[in-house]
Amino acid sequence: MRSVKPLVNDFSIHVATVNGSGSQTANNVLLRSILQMGVPVSGKNLFPSNIAGLPTWFTIRVSEKGYIARVEHNDVLVVMNPETAAADVAMMGPGTLIIANDSIKMPEIPADRLVYRVPMAKLMEPITKDVKLRRLVVNMIYVGVVGGLTGIDVAEVEKALDAQLGRKPKAMELNLAAVRAGYEYAAANPPASPVPCRIERRELTRNRLLIDGNTAAALGALFGGVTFVSWYPITPSSSLVEALMGLLEKHRRDPQTGRATFGVVQAEDEIAAIGMVLGAGWAGARSMTATSGPGISLMAEFFGYGYYAEIPGVVWDVQRVGPSTGLPTRTAQADLSFAYTIGHGDTTFPVLLPGSVGECFEFGGKAFDFAERLQCPVLVLSDLDLGMNNWMTEPFEYPAKPFDRGKVLDDAALEKVAKFERYRDVDGDGIPFRTLPGAKSEKGVYFTRGSGHDEAAHYTESPVVYARNMDRLARKMQTARSLLPAPELRESPGAEVGLIAFGSSHGAMVEALDQLKAAGVDASYLRVRALPLHAAVHAFVERHPRVYVIEQNRDAQLTERLRMECPAKAGAIRHVLHYTGLPLDARTVTDGILAHEGVPVTEGASR
């Protein structure tokens, strides 16, 4: 048994349970309790493609320094699933704590791990006689035991439980009894050696809340004035639309008249979903859908059409690993290249890349502004990690700017112009004016079709006119470069190493920067927030002798784009890739960069 000092506010708890066993409430209560102790915390749910019965894991990272990325090694294990017990235990190193339901047959465990067995069935006996309830509530026993052993104030657990179940007194009573039973057992049965991890109260989480990216995106859409939503259920995007429907029903349906200022349609497939989005966008609605990789694959034809016909619409792609079946419940950033050029013909699309739940909220609203301003489908690439896990954040800020409805000529505006031509670039930014059906002025009428139209939207197959229109569309995407969110920059003056990442990699990147500094590597960091790339991205590449691009895909998709757009520096752009389906961890980033830099990697340098 190691006799080193316990890890205070800097460790990770891994809970191994069975999908559908009700462990989610228990894990969320644990998460909230630690947050209420004033200590930064993050939670990641690793779940199978299954509703009930298969193994599932939940990892809680406690980090006084505010690190929120996944870690490769855990310090506390809670064993609730007999199926995976042996493999779960085998992952635990020396000096770790293993808490197990004593009914589970455990493998041989080396003596330098602290094993703490809890007679959970026995503890549940006085709480309820209902066998089904026992199975659900037993999870609260481990909450109590973890809390008792690591020093979480029981009052914080009770408060967190109240926030989750306070409206259901019966459930509250049962769960509370189980939590207390866990605490009492831990108090009455001190472990054989000191507990290696402790939580001590801090003041680091004032004004911080926990929320997942999909809910944040839904809130963003609500405050962004969404009026039309069409969708086809697909993990991991379904919870975005489910959350949005709840919000719209509550805040956008008149309680007196029952009338709604929104329409939500569950479509027959993703092709219909985007068709409806484009139909509504054409008619002037702020329209959106949410899907994942298979969905945008089906939408490809309509994306191409939307680009050519210049119709606004917002598509959230909450990315997951490749095709189902297999890893549809794991995370990835592998749709980037496809999303950017999706469609037939010469097409590129604005792609927003939120890197936090705060940006999911912000882009959730602004995506409509960009779509209506740029008159084309806009993609927002989130991922399963960002979308479905709970992240600590400051409260979201109310949007400061009014909606940008783009270049729309209504009847009053049509009165003032000599003539209206749908596809004429009047002011040089590549973006034409549009009108909406229903406008009275005959001047505003036009006919929408795919590739064969002139500036006045009349049918033509003229080669000259076609090429001219394509050049204008290219100009429009140039306008997009500076209109879309600029990259976020953490410059270390004079650093020779420049790191580039995007999306949910941000948590691991922040931590990796500190690890690299400790290893003697001084690096600047740029987080890309949109495609097409902002000029500031090119400038960052130009001024750093060595650039490393960190991405969660196999094919180095952003790297390839940067090499194409910065050809003189192509040889200086290298990558660190992570594509296991698990969220990115800082050590992978750090070790990858140290290897490129020729700095020896020290084993166990993860802390």
Binding site: G275, L278, P402, G438, E442
Partner: protein
């Protein structure tokens, strides 16, 4: 709007002061003699007679010969020539975004019965308000005469090859899905087509009009079941049709017991004059029987096959506000700051949003 300009003397205007020419579109580019051109003419005439306000109409289509036609009528209305088989989803989005528009969707048998079958049936089951015209000729014209899914068993291509697969009857399908207005007609029978179109314009939900429209280039030969000659020979009208709009004070004199009326919610009336049999268009089972019998006999029943104008249209199903969603402003759409603050406070107090499994 242009209705305020004085029309040339002597030329008739409709109830909103427009000439028939005001409903014209661009010149057709389809083959001379194409049945679709006759349907285009029917739409122009019917829209003029019904007094549709052009700016309140949106013309939508998919891909195919038929889908080109919205460019050829109602030149003062917005048009949207979309992608193959996907007009129904476009129509659904447009309809929800702006309830005030009358949607005229034009599709073909390839567009609706093959590539777009999924969207067709789902549009019908949602009862999206659109006048959905299928210009049905049993062949793919633009790709030079391949069979479509509505080709009849035994009908031949120009090459002599016969179709052996069962045709899909879009009218029967629509009736099964609860469509409140299902009609079949023939592009060569304007007398029947126009009142059907006008009735469809006053129907509040999905109105399906399957119009047999011979392809002069690829399916007008001996052996084709949808040639002009074959359709004329096998056309079996269920009734004679008269449409009495709510804005005209017309009494139609028929002998008592010889007609059936279908009352439209806007106060218009469809008067069906009985032929050999007394056909009841409100009986869905009888309608399916009629379609089935006709197929057995190698005939096309035409007329108003099924009507239930009271079926709840999609906008009502969603309980939308009357004003088009597209015209709502920021005050209507962005909840005040207090709402966001309240939501954030609930999270600060301990709410944790639910994520979760599935696949």
């Amino acid at each position: 709007m242009s209705a305020t300009t004085t029309p040339p003397a002597g030329q008739p205007v409709n109830r909103i002061g427009l000439l028939k020419a005001d409903y014209d579109g661009r010149k057709t580019t389809l083959c001379p003699g194409c049945g679709h051109n006759a349907i285009t003419g029917g739409i122009i005439q019917a829209a003029w007679e019904a007094g549709l306000e052009p700016h309140r109409v949106a013309k939508l289509s998919g891909i195919g010969c038929s889908s080109k036609t919205p460019a050829y009528f109602l030149g003062r209305s917005h048009g949207f020539n979309a992608v193959h088989g996907r007009m129904p989803s476009i129509a659904t989005g447009v309809s929800v975004a702006n309830r005030g528009l009358t949607l005229i969707g034009v599709s073909g048998d390839g567009d609706s019965a093959s590539i777009g079958m999924g969207q067709f049936v789902h549009l019908v089951r949602r009862n999206v308000p659109v006048v959905y015209i299928i210009e049905n000729n049993g062949v793919y014209g633009l790709t030079k005469g391949q069979f479509s899914a509505t080709a009849d068993v035994g009908s031949t291509r120009k090459t002599g090859e016969a179709n052996r697969l069962m045709p899909i009857d879009l009218c029967a399908l629509a009736i099964e899905l609860g469509c409140g207005f299902v009609a079949r007609s023939f592009s060569g029978d304007q007398k029947q087509l126009r009142p059907l179109l006008k009735a469809a314009f006053s129907h509040p939900g999905t109105a399906i009009l399957d119009v047999i429209s011979p392809c002069v280039t690829f399916a007008d030969h001996e052996g084709s079941s949808k040639s002009y000659a074959a359709v004329k020979e096998h056309d079996a009208p269920l009734h004679d049709i008269e449409y009495v709009p709510y804005f005209e004070d017309i009494t139609v004199d028929y002998e008592p017991g010889t007609t059936r009326d279908v009352d439209m919610p806007d106060g218009s009336r469809v008067v069906l004059k009985k032929l050999e049999v007394d056909y009841d268009p409100t009986d869905a089972r009888a309608a399916i029987d009629a379609l089935h019998d006709a197929r057995q006999e190698g005939k096309f029943v035409t007329g108003l096959i099924y009507a239930n104008p009271k079926a709840v249209p999609f906008g009502e199903e969603l309980r939308l506000v009357e004003e088009p969603l597209a015209s709502l402003g920021e005050d209507d759409l962005r909840p005040p700051k207090s709402v966001l603050d309240g939501i954030m406070a609930s999270y600060l107090e301990g709410s944790v949003s639910a994520s979760g499994g599935g696949g």
